[in-house]
Each structure stands twice: as structure tokens, then as C-alpha cells.
Symmetry: C2
Subunit: 218 residues, 2 copies
């Protein structure tokens, strides 16, 4: 039984390691997507779009592996919960990759023009930084199961919401001169960063639940 438990633990550790890998890939993707967006860098945008296939592949492979572990090991109680939670975290991380992909696609669509007007560059840059910080942190938390850091992610998300509101304030300023098309782009870009952060919060809450058995809804 000790041996079995240890084989299972190894498999669970492997799942955790892949989740951390996924968090690194999407962190990298949102960073590069932000850079591509702010610099109208078509090559970087294309690279982010292409790299998302890899995230999807890893997620599919991971999900099959998790289901296979459940079938073979027939875990119960907290072990089963850990695996189901991993399935959900992988879905969140995959979706974060999609959001980076969407940001990159707007950059590509507007190339060679810049999708983000000058007066919003600072805000979008900040959103990109917060997004990266939050997914880097989530990667650490998946690994360490550090509850205090999991709670910190809620504050990072507040910061993202603040930046999101700032986008809208600028859009709605009577001095906005960039017209409707740009307003549509910015609305969607804002939504993508906000959703990226929401999914990161979701991952951190799942870790919190896994460790404490309680839901943290702030």
C-alpha cells in the first residue's frame, strides 16, 4: 500500500508539474501578446497565435492523463478531489492561453497600425504587467499550495479591475478622438485581460479549496 500510495503521489506530482508548465506558457503568451500589441509587432503576434496550439495540446494530453490516473488508481476522497481540481485548473489555464491569443489577433488585425492609441498605452501596459504577475504567482501557488499567496491573487485582480475601469473612463472621455473601431478594439482588449485575470483567480481559489476544504469567495 505504501508503494501504491507513492506511485500515485508520483503521478499527482507529474500532474502538478504540467499545470506549472502550462502557467509558464500562458504567462509568457500574455507578456508577448502585450508587447506585440503595444509595438504593432506582427511577428511576435503571429508567434503568440501559433504557440497557443501547444498550450491546447498539452492541456489535452494532461486531461487524458488525469482521467487515466482516476481509472487506474481509483482514488477517493481528497486524492480524487485533487485530480478533479487539476482538470478544472487545466481548463482555466487553457482559457488564459486563449485570451493571450485573442489579444495577439487584434494586434495582427490592425497591423501595421497600432490598435492601442497613445493615451491608453500606459494602461494597457499595466494590464499586461498585472496579467503576467498574476499568472506567475498562480504557477508558484499551484506548486507550493501557499494559501496566503493564493489570497493575494484577489488583490492583484482588484488592480486589474481598476485598470479595466480606467480604460472605459478614457474611452468615454469627450476628448476621445479615435472613433468607434478603436473603441470596439479597446473594449474587447479590456475584456480579454479581465477574463485572463478572472481565470487566474479561479485557479488560486481552487488551490485554496484543495488545501483548506473551504471556498474563498473573498
Amino acid at each position: 500500500m505504501t508503494w501504491l500510495r507513492s506511485a500515485f503521489q508520483d503521478e499527482l506530482d507529474g500532474v502538478t508539474a504540467t499545470l506549472v508548465d502550462l502557467s509558464k506558457l500562458v504567462s509568457d503568451a500574455i507578456s508577448k501578446a502585450t508587447h506585440a500589441l503595444l509595438n504593432a509587432d506582427i511577428k511576435e503576434a503571429e508567434a503568440v497565435i501559433a504557440a497557443d496550439d501547444r498550450v491546447d495540446e498539452i492541456q489535452h494530453e494532461l486531461d487524458s492523463r488525469i482521467i487515466d490516473i482516476i481509472a487506474r488508481q481509483q482514488p477517493v476522497a481528497s486524492d480524487l478531489r485533487a485530480l478533479v481540481t487539476a482538470l478544472r485548473m487545466s481548463a482555466d489555464l487553457e482559457r488564459m492561453g486563449d485570451m493571450a491569443h485573442h489579444v495577439a489577433k487584434i494586434s495582427r488585425l490592425r497591423h501595421p497600425a497600432h490598435a492601442v492609441p497613445e493615451e491608453l498605452r500606459g494602461t494597457v501596459e499595466e494590464m499586461g504587467k498585472v496579467a503576467r504577475l498574476i499568472s506567475d504567482k498562480v504557477g508558484t501557488i499551484i506548486n507550493s499550495k501557499d494559501i496566503d499567496r493564493a489570497l493575494e491573487v484577489e488583490h492583484d485582480d482588484d488592480e486589474m479591475d481598476k485598470l479595466h475601469r480606467k480604460l472605459f473612463t478614457t474611452l468615454l472621455d469627450p476628448n476621445w478622438t479615435h472613433g468607434i473601431e478603436s473603441a470596439i478594439d479597446i473594449t474587447l482588449i479590456g475584456r480579454y485581460y479581465e477574463r485572463y485575470a478572472d481565470h487566474a483567480v479561479s485557479v488560486s481559489r481552487r488551490v485554496y479549496f484543495q488545501v483548506t476544504g473551504k471556498y474563498n469567495s473573498k
Copy 2:
């Protein structure tokens, strides 16, 4: 063993029934949210917002039940896959409920004004109809596991995409006189209906996969 199998089958049928219930609730929610939006009906908007808690509750209860079935019955192969697929379908359906909720919130935010300008009423009304049709169909498919109907959902989603593009064409028309705030609302509303339909497609693809063992990506 026959008895065990049958007890398991009953539990699986119960899961399917709850998924169908969820599909009905979200279908109803998107219908009412559309009606509230087009008629600036604050009471109906509030009702949709309040009803989303019920969807979330049912989803949580269902997920716990599914995990409990896996722990007790220790299913393998196709039975395990059916349960994991059910977990994913419940997440899609819960998210469809969120989208209806978001539409209702825009309606409430703009009340007593109308969030949708006259020239877009027709398109938004159509989006609401397609959304309802698609989730009604998905409810039937979850129950019947009818593969041909699951494939039909892809076409319904094409219809939604067409309507979504039509929204943008109207927004970008030089004759658009409703300003930036309205453009933001319409961009978000369009995104919510599009995502609603995407999640419905996702459910239909999961049914397809469950029955055929193959992925249908169109």
C-alpha cells in the same frame, strides 16, 4: 453485477436529467435577458440576475454528486468518461447562465434608457432567438445523444457568428450616431451572445465525443 450496473445507470440518468434541467434554465434566462434588454424591462432584468444564483447552486450540487459517484462506483473506461464529460458540460451550462446574467446587467445599467438603439433591435432580437434555439437543442441532445442534431448546432453557431458580424457592420457605419458608450455596450452584448453559443457548441461536441469517441471540430 447486473444490479450494480443498473444502480450506476440510474445515477448516470440522474446526472443527465440535471444537465437537461440546467439547459432549460439557461435557455429561459437568455430568452428573458433578451426581452429585458429590448424592452428596458428592469423587473425582468432583475429576475434574470437573481435566477442565476439558482443555476450556480444546481451546478455545484451536480458537480459534488458526480464526484461522489466516481468515488463510490469507481467507474472505468466509457462510464468514467461519461462522468468527466458531464462535469465539463455542467461548467459550460453554468457559463451560459453567466452570459444571460451579463446581458441582463447591461439592461439594468442603462435603465430607464434602452441599451440597444433602434437600428440594432432586429439583429439583437435574432441573436436572442438563435441563442434560445441552440440551447433548447442542446438540452434535447444531452438527453437523446442524437449525433446528427449535435452536428446541426455547428450551423446554428454559424448563424450567430453572422449576426455578430452584422452588429459590428452597423457599429462601424459612418451613420452610427449613438456614440462610444453605446458602441461599448453593443460590443459586450455581442460578445456575450457569441460566447453563449460557443459554450452550447462545446456541449454538443462533448456529446458527439461521448457517443462516437471522436472529436468533431467541424
